[in-house]
Symmetry: C2
Subunit: 133 residues, 2 copies
């Protein structure tokens, strides 16, 4: 399989696949013409990477997950730990965004949004922030 084939099958752009090779996530062989030659193992790894990335794991997470994926004797607890840490990061990010949303929608609602210059949004932004830590 050439890079275009695995790109369409994994859903990853060819550029990204080359990048993943650059940073050592995959190691496809080469044909005599210099083209990358992917086997089904590499395709599986790419699929794995696409799915992990779509769930928000960082590349370094993916590297760790991939080595666990390939280690037939790993403990599922190792995987679960990584996943739980990531879940916690996601939850924190959601909370942060929700707080932003509440604050900003409060401001938007106060703004009449017509052609007058008076604007509570800008007025508020000029104030020092009170972090609701």
């Amino acid at each position: 399989m050439n890079i275009g084939d695995v790109a369409s099958q994994s859903g990853l752009p060819a550029k990204t696949i080359r990048y993943y090779e650059d940073i050592g996530l995959i190691r496809p062989k080469r044909d005599s013409n210099g083209y990358r030659a992917f086997d089904t193992t590499e395709l599986h790894k790419l699929t794995f990477l696409a799915r992990s990335r779509s769930l928000g794991f960082t590349i370094e997470d993916c590297r760790a997950l991939l080595s666990l994926y390939e280690d037939r004797r790993r403990a599922s607890a190792d995987v679960k730990l990584l996943a739980e840490e990531h879940l916690a990061r996601i939850a924190r990010k959601i909370a942060e965004l929700k707080a932003m949303h509440v604050t900003l929608s409060g401001l938007v609602n106060k703004c009449h949004g017509d052609d007058r210059p008076d604007c509570p949004i800008l007025d508020d932004l000029g104030q020092l922030e009170e972090m609701p830590s």
Copy 2:
């Protein structure tokens, strides 16, 4: 005021303030010794930037907001539009993260997380993704 003063008053690191000057968000004068000399106007702008960034506006958003902030004759509708677009981005991001959280916590719950190698998380990650678009 030197950079350290406005840094502590605005909450922005001095490094970040220099960076904001580099990209043209602020234009502090200079003392004869080469030190940046901030007046209260610049401090207000930095405060404005700190608050806008903490609400997740991009630097380019901030640039636009800042020019509206400085334009005494702008229409509040212009500001409201920017803010509403940003609210929509936040809402989309929240939805995306929630979807990740649901999927991943489903996987984590299925994983027994002990020292056996069998792991539903890795099994799933190896599957082609079904995008619930």
